[in-house]
């Protein structure tokens, strides 16, 4: 560890011998699901599966929660997911809430944006929270749940694909043992060793410019906003980002050139004057310093036999846009319910293919957005730099110029063009169309639609707007009724507005909160057909 990175591991866990390591005879222990990698994605997926009643083995090669500056921005969507996993409140209480970003060019502000300009949502646009806090809270939650067997210092060293399982060889401080899993979920990060074991490529683009990432501790009066500079006076010709985290820690990204010497640039005595110039003082301490070249890459296929990849192991983006950890969490929520159905024999294994289809689409979108942002910050040619200069100068006096300035486009849930959706047959003027994520809205005092969805057990759900004679939900499908006797109150009229609802309007929501189908005048047959399509049954 570099001398500047004095931050101690927040939590240390012990290795414990498991009876699976002492099985007599040649046959290894059998498990339905083994997750490899206890980062935010693996931990969240384990909780989700356990809440659905699955037994999960979660392996990690370390014995502590990693230190260092990793993910900090967690999106509204991720918070809604964590609410369902029982950890949302804790994350939000510790995190710093923000929704406003400002873009500066030189000395002056070009524009500001608000990522959640409307009221009536339970969760904010974003919180900033150090990844080690997020992981610690997820581990605490796991310890409260039955069904998850979290094994530290268990490193997968070999993988053998079988017809209907995968055989893992696992190295521990007390030697190797083997496990046989129906499904292995690889959440082992950008340098995934499971990806190498399946022999998959990780193709994409490496950006030449280097970025210095520093977490500094200081008391400061900056507002809780995302500040981004092009060509600031304190860092001429390059870009800079300032972001607040809990505990008076601030994230600073400084763009360096492609020829910067990483060893030299990382030395605290060289970083300190750069940051002091930015802040106008040097009353700060370093928590972490690192130098990165950003990459945008993805696997061609997220499913290899019985091994399914999720998070950074499957796709990697630059940090501008907060699309790394958030997209990994979206992978987890997309995969969890599908895997649960397949393991229970309620849906055919082919349902898992829709995980690849939908999350590939999301990965492509995230890579596209992140690549565009990074290219805008670090133009590839003289002409690209010229076009950027034109945009920045037009932004001073035109609205279209402001909108073209790309200092990072922040993560929003992807819309899926997916075989699980049923196409609209009616006319709609708004609302989330099939393949889009559900929208939050208030339902009474201090109560939200996302709460009602969560309390229903996050299974398939019919969201219907009162017309006096709502159709009964099919077997196993939950019900949320808005208005009418016994229904939730649309206290501010925002549910109807956000869902373009008329009396009788009905949405079929998937367990991950995506819209599968919607109807103006639902019939039992139409709902049943949409349901079986969304469950991969036809």
């Amino acid at each position: 560890m570099a001398p500047a990175n004095t931050h101690q591991a927040k939590t240390q866990f012990g290795y414990r011998r498991h009876p699976d390591q002492d099985r007599p005879g040649p046959s290894p222990a059998e498990h339905p699901v083994v997750i490899v990698g206890a980062g935010p994605v693996g931990l969240s997926l384990a909780i989700d599966l356990a809440q659905r009643g699955q037994r999960v083995v979660l392996l990690d090669d370390a014995d502590r929660i990693g230190e260092g500056s990793r993910a900090i921005c967690f999106s509204k969507r991720s918070l809604e997911y964590w609410d369902r996993l029982g950890v949302g409140d804790r994350m939000v209480e510790k995190g710093v809430v923000w929704s406003v970003g400002r873009i500066f060019h030189g000395e002056s502000q070009l524009y500001q944006f608000n990522l959640l300009p409307e009221d009536g949502h339970k969760r904010p646009a974003f919180i900033n929270l150090q990844q080690y806090y997020a992981e610690a809270y997820l581990v605490d939650r796991i310890n409260d749940l039955p069904g998850i067997d979290l094994r530290w210092r268990n490193k997968v060293t070999a993988l053998e694909q079988r017809n209907d399982s995968a055989l893992l060889t696992i190295e521990t401080p007390e030697g190797a043992y083997r496990l046989n899993a129906q499904y292995v979920i690889a959440c082992d990060g950008a340098r995934s060793s499971l990806r190498q074991m399946v022999g998959a490529e990780f193709a994409g683009q490496v950006f030449e410019d280097q970025f210095l990432i520093a977490d500094v501790k200081m008391t400061a009066e900056f507002p809780t906003e995302r500040w981004f500079w092009f060509d600031p006076p304190f860092h001429a010709g390059r870009s800079a980002l300032l972001h607040r985290q809990p505990d008076d820690v601030w994230r600073i990204d400084l763009q360096l050139n492609r020829y910067a010497d990483p060893v030299l640039e990382k030395k605290p005595e060289n970083v300190r004057p750069r940051i002091a110039r930015m802040l106008g003082h040097d009353k700060f301490e370093f928590e972490w310093i690192s130098l990165y070249k950003f990459q945008c890459r993805r696997m061609d296929r997220f499913i290899h036999g019985r091994v399914i990849f999720a998070g950074d192991s499957a796709h990697q983006v630059s940090p501008f846009g907060a699309r790394g950890a958030n997209s990994g969490l979206e992978d987890a929520e997309n995969l969890s319910w599908k895997l649960d159905r397949v393991l229970r024999g309620k849906s055919p294994a082919s349902l898992l293919e829709s995980y690849h289809v939908e999350r590939s689409m999301a990965a492509d979108e995230n890579i596209r957005e992140s690549t565009r942002s990074t290219d805008f910050m670090a133009p590839n040619s003289h002409q690209e730099a010229r076009l950027r200069k034109a945009v920045l100068s037009l932004a001073k006096e035109t609205e279209f110029g402001k909108r073209m300035v790309n200092g990072g486009r922040l993560s929003v849930p992807c819309s899926y063009d997916t075989p699980l959706s049923s196409r609209d047959a009616d006319a709609w003027r708004g609302g989330p169309s099939p393949g889009c994520s559900m929208l939050d809205a208030p339902v009474g005092d201090q109560a939200y639609l996302t709460d009602a969805f969560r309390k229903g057990g996050t299974d398939f759900t019919l969201l219907s707007f009162s017309n006096g004679a709502a159709i009964a939900a099919p077997d196993g499908v939950r019900d949320i009724r808005i208005g009418g006797a016994g229904g939730l109150a649309d206290s501010q009229g925002l549910v109807a507005k956000r869902y373009d609802a008329e009396p009788g309007t009905t949405y079929l929501l998937r367990p991950d909160g995506y819209v599968a189908a919607r109807f103006r005048h639902p019939t039992r047959e139409a709902v049943a057909a949409a349901l079986s399509r969304a469950q991969g049954l036809n």
């Binding site: 002409q383 010229r386 076009l387 200069k389 034109a390 037009l394 035109t398 279209f400 073209m404």
Partner: protein
């Protein structure tokens, strides 16, 4: 609406002249900066990504044709 390539100006010479004159007195570097800004302003005014892509395609064909002509001359 597809890209219009019929003559839209009542007096095309005026339009051409206006652009030429805007470049007068500029260095090569300034001219390139000016063009970049002008392209972005006009692209936004068109406000139709399909028309813009068609226009880019039409402009790019000049490059291809230019290269072919050069090769033939060599």
């Amino acid at each position: 609406m597809p890209l219009s390539t019929s003559s839209n100006f009542a007096r095309p010479d005026d339009a051409f002249r206006a652009i030429v004159e805007a470049h007068r007195g500029l260095t090569e570097e300034q001219s390139a900066d000016f063009d970049a800004a002008l392209v972005l302003i006009l692209a936004n005014h068109i406000g139709d990504i399909d028309v813009l892509r068609e226009a880019i395609g039409l402009a790019r064909r000049r490059m291809v044709n230019g290269q072919q002509q050069q090769q033939q001359q060599q």
